[in-house]
């Protein structure tokens, strides 16, 4: 199995055939197991369908199968000879957009589906806005149901033009359009023989080859999750800080600063149960020891000095995706969860709201479900941030309702 992992999110409007596309992708890539396929064939027969409904491979919940819609994100894992994939299949209904945001937050590639008969609709723009906002580095426009428009190039071209206009409004600098027919499999895994005018790759071929852009280089960022103090006979004085490197590379001997306090120390060791490391790149979960006995706790950020420096602040300007039925108004109070830190927050002002139809920002006084807007937040204690466009970890936060614990918003530091 190839070592490289690609995270893909699929999004589309209702009835764009997204689950069918994912089912087709899994089926034609020959990663569907015999018993799973038999179950789908039996279920299709029970429903009186002609042939196997590949969407049933992914729609796992009872309500999804009954209504023929996708409600929640479904994760699929498969590998081809070239790559290992984690695929997050997300719902099309506007009311479930928060699940699309969930899928997009960790994705390298977003596949946005459009029905060839209906073209670019409001949901397409919403999904494009979400993918662009969350910095999914590669966007695929999959124009589906080409079989229902006689595989005509003109239909495809018109949709690509409309999508390009929306992309340009959202400052998306590139995307890859692919004409597909999920039901018949054209351009999903195999190149279609019915669209000679298309010279590009099939969807799977594209996904197997794409090299997603990496985060820009930053000096190391290490949010402390927990303090490790065994106090055993073998390790009476051990004091280590456990966490995951969220940016850059942390090296033994690095001069570091503990934020927000600002105390200075040096990395004495990078420990793992399998032995010490000389360095730990972004993504590694390790335990570090410092050469000085400084006060470090969960929620602190250990950083290597250098440009760009992180911002230690009690005021934030941020873009948020509002994920809940209750509207957001200025004066609302929340907990903010940022890296491993959890502090009280007050929304000082709502500055603007993105109009999904025009893709222009306009002044607003509240945000409602699925709105994307810009707000100002004041915090009870400082947090340490980078802009989201520089780092997906230190630039991201959640707004959490204090009593219920519900996740109300996804936030991106401006």
């Amino acid at each position: 199995m190839p070592g490289e992992l690609l995270r893909v999110v699929t999004a589309g409007s209702v009835d764009d055939g997204k689950s069918t596309l994912v089912g087709r992708l899994l089926h034609d890539a020959k990663v569907v197991l015999v018993d799973q396929m038999t179950a789908v064939e039996l279920a299709s027969e029970r429903r009186g369908y002609d042939g196997a409904d590949l969407a049933l491979l992914v729609d796992g919940l009872r309500a999804e199968r009954e209504q023929g819609i996708t409600i929640d994100v479904a994760y699929r894992y498969f590998a081809t000879t070239k790559r290992t994939f984690i695929l997050a299949d997300t719902p099309g209904h506007v009311q479930y957009t928060r699940n699309t945001v969930t899928g997009a937050s960790t994705a390298d590639v977003a596949v946005i589906l459009v029905d060839a008969r209906s073209g670019v609709v409001e949901q397409t723009k919403r999904h494009l806005a979400v993918a662009s906002l969350l910095r999914v580095s590669e966007i695929v426009l999959a124009v589906n149901k080409m079989d229902l428009v006689e595989y005509r190039e003109a239909v495809f071209d018109r949709i690509v033009t409309d999508f390009a206009a929306a992309a340009s409004n959202l400052k998306v600098d590139h995307f890859t359009p692919i004409p597909v027919a999920a039901l018949t499999g054209d351009n999903v895994v195999e190149r279609s023989t019915r669209m000679d005018w298309y010279s590009g790759r099939s969807l799977l071929d594209f996904l197997e080859r794409i090299e997603p852009a990496l985060d820009p280089d930053l000096p190391a960022r290490f949010p402390v999750q927990i303090v490790i103090r065994p106090r055993t006979v073998e390790h009476p004085d051990y004091r280590g800080y456990a966490g995951r490197v969220e940016a850059g590379v942390l090296r033994r001997g690095d001069a570091v600063r503990v934020l927000p306090s600002g105390r200075i120390s040096t990395v004495a060791a990078i420990d793992t149960p399998n032995g010490q490391l000389e360095f730990a790149p972004a993504g590694r979960s390790v335990t570090i020891r410092l050469s000085d006995d400084v006060d470090v706790a969960r929620g602190d950020l250990i950083v290597v000095d250098g440009a760009p420096a992180p911002l230690v602040t009690r005021e934030l300007r941020a873009t948020v995706c509002w994920l809940t039925d209750r509207p957001l108004r200025s004066g609302d109070r929340f907990r903010i969860r940022h890296t491993t830190r959890d502090v009280q927050a007050i929304v000082d002002a709502i500055e603007s709201r993105l109009d999904i139809t025009t893709l222009a920002s306009a002044p607003a006084t509240e945000l409602t479900l699925n709105d994307i807007g810009t707000i100002r937040i004041r915090l009870a204690e400082p947090i340490v941030v980078d802009p989201y466009e520089i780092n997906r970890s230190t630039g991201a936060f959640l707004l959490v309702e204090e009593t219920s614990g519900a996740t109300m918003a996804a936030g991106l530091v401006s």
Binding site: Y75, T102, P230, R244, R392, L398, T403, G405, T407
Partner: protein, 308 residues
């Protein structure tokens, strides 16, 4: 400083396994960062063994800062219970047993004769969560196992009744796991969400982890029922029309002995199991679990009621 665990073989240093390990350790550490009283569900099956191995790595050189709990149906494979008791003792890990038999004896649940005890695990599980005031329950479920599990969050809130509401799950963004919950609620945490069956075996191989012997091919008296190979045990006896034969088999999953089937196999080493798993054309649960064959949504229904 001496390393606690055997060093991973260099030639098995597969980058995606390191990614999965780093992610799981990050999730497990968040549990200790965010909760007061966690517990780790441990059945002696391969997934819970891998999860426990990762948890011990996450806190090393400290000891595991929470107990493990076995929800015991009473229908066990002797090899698995032997493994459980021996290894947990070696590691100095505290074990809590929530017993289905006790729940039956006290009338908390009613057993249907001839049916698997798997669905009966929900009541003793929820009772134990309440009586120990556990606020986080770590489980080894993987999203690739089953279609309703594919919809599960990493941090998944359960209400006072232990119920899962799949239509109203919290959005889970980036790696910001939100464990905040009301009093009386608890959170199920699944650090192996993104692992596949093949990843589990490849990791067992890389880390040199010991698993119960029934995972390896061995000769056993079995008979065929509903397309599955069932072992002849105290609880599973062949019916008149079912013939017993001695065959080389192994188990892909370890659960209640009455509903867990074996597969024909000659894989006697971990690396042979990795090869066999990579080539398999049937899913893990499809091959071995009678309880998931009951209906299209059998697992979803059990999960909604508080099952793991």
């Amino acid at each position: 400083m001496t390393a606690l665990l055997p060093h991973p073989s260099r030639d098995l240093d597969r980058t995606w396994l390191t990614d999965l390990e780093d992610e799981a350790i990050h999730i497990i550490r968040e549990v200790i960062g965010q909760f007061e009283r966690p517990v780790l569900l441990f059945s002696g099956g391969k997934d819970s063994i891998v999860m426990l191995h990762l948890a011990m790595k996450a806190f090393w050189p400290s000891r595991l800062p929470f107990p493990v709990m076995h929800v015991d149906t009473g229908h066990n494979f002797a090899e698995v219970i032997g493994y459980r008791d021996r290894k947990l003792d070696d590691w100095g890990v505290k074990l809590i047993v929530a017993s289905v038999q006790d729940a039956i004896d006290s009338g908390r649940v009613t057993e249907t004769v001839g049916q698997t005890r798997n669905p009966l695990q929900t009541v003793p599980l929820l009772d134990a969560i309440t009586s120990h005031s556990f606020d986080a329950v770590l489980g080894g479920a993987r999203r690739d196992e089953e279609k309703s599990r594919a919809k599960e969050r990493v941090f998944s809130v359960r209400d006072d009744f232990g119920q899962w509401d799949p239509r109203n799950q919290r959005p889970e963004l980036w790696d910001l796991y939100n464990g905040r919950h009301r009093i009386g609620e608890h959170v199920r945490v699944f650090p192996l969400s993104n692992w596949t069956e093949l990843d589990i075996w490849a990791y067992i191989e890389r880390e040199g982890i010991e698993v119960p012997s029934i995972y390896y091919a061995h000769d056993r008296e079995v008979f065929e029922r509903d397309g599955m190979l069932l072992a002849v045990t105290e609880w599973t006896q062949p019916r008149a029309n079912e013939t017993v034969r001695l065959q080389s088999v192994r188990y892909r999953t370890v659960g209640d002995a009455t509903c867990t089937g074996a597969i024909a196999s000659t894989a006697r080493t971990v690396s042979e199991i990795v090869t066999e798993t990579a080539a398999s054309t049937v899913s893990e649960r499809g091959a071995t679990r009678a309880d998931d064959r009951a209906s299209e949504a059998a697992m979803e229904d059990r999960k909604r009621q508080g099952y793991f």
